[in-house]
Symmetry: C2
Subunit: 119 residues, 2 copies
């Protein structure tokens, strides 16, 4: 029954593209990540993925368009949709996805990480 | 593939204790609500419930203790735990729970509401 302070946790998170699990609800994990630059194209064939921008700006590219998010904006990536997050400057995001979802989804890349457990 | 602006949606939400669905991910709903005063004691026997405070301060009382949340704080109410949210001044919260979860959980009260669909 803890209180999770996003500000305090982001202050501890200096590495980019290294998601940390900060809370769980049922079979879902709430993660935080610091993003900077362009990530790898990937999809999550089994699940949707929710982004909530905590601080900064984030673009999520799809093959045929892009969406632009600022602080306090939510976007849900459809199941199976190829996407590429990109931040032109450091951006803090809250992610929601089922337990065990891999950050690079259907592909293994140099950026593939197992999320750290900060709960 | 919409962008959901929490600030814009909260600006539209003048009623208290009247949750609105603003996004969906898999079988979960993301809701927003404005809270002011004390809610009714209830529990959700089938699910955990996530609170994220967007603006203001919120106390969640349990039968044997209370937790205090400010902006940017997350708290997950355990499945089946009796709880009573209380805000001493207007507070904006983001809620995450499975589709169809009733705001008053296991009890029907004057405050029971079907969440509006703002997606």
């Amino acid at each position: 029954m803890n209180v999770v302070s996003l500000d305090k946790l982001f202050a501890r998170l200096d590495e980019c593209w290294a998601p940390k699990i900060v809370a769980r609800i049922n079979d879902m994990e709430v993660k935080i990540a610091r993003l900077d630059g362009a990530f790898d194209w990937h999809s999550h064939p089994e699940t949707e993925e929710l982004f909530l921008v905590h601080r900064g700006k984030l673009t999520i590219h799809y093959r045929d368009h892009s969406v632009h998010l600022g602080a306090g904006d939510i976007h849900v990536v459809p199941k199976g949709a190829e996407h590429k997050p990109e931040a032109n400057s450091p951006c803090e995001v809250v992610l929601l996805e089922p337990k065990g979802t891999r950050n690079t989804g259907d592909v293994q890349t140099a950026r593939t990480r197992t999320a750290g457990d900060w709960t």
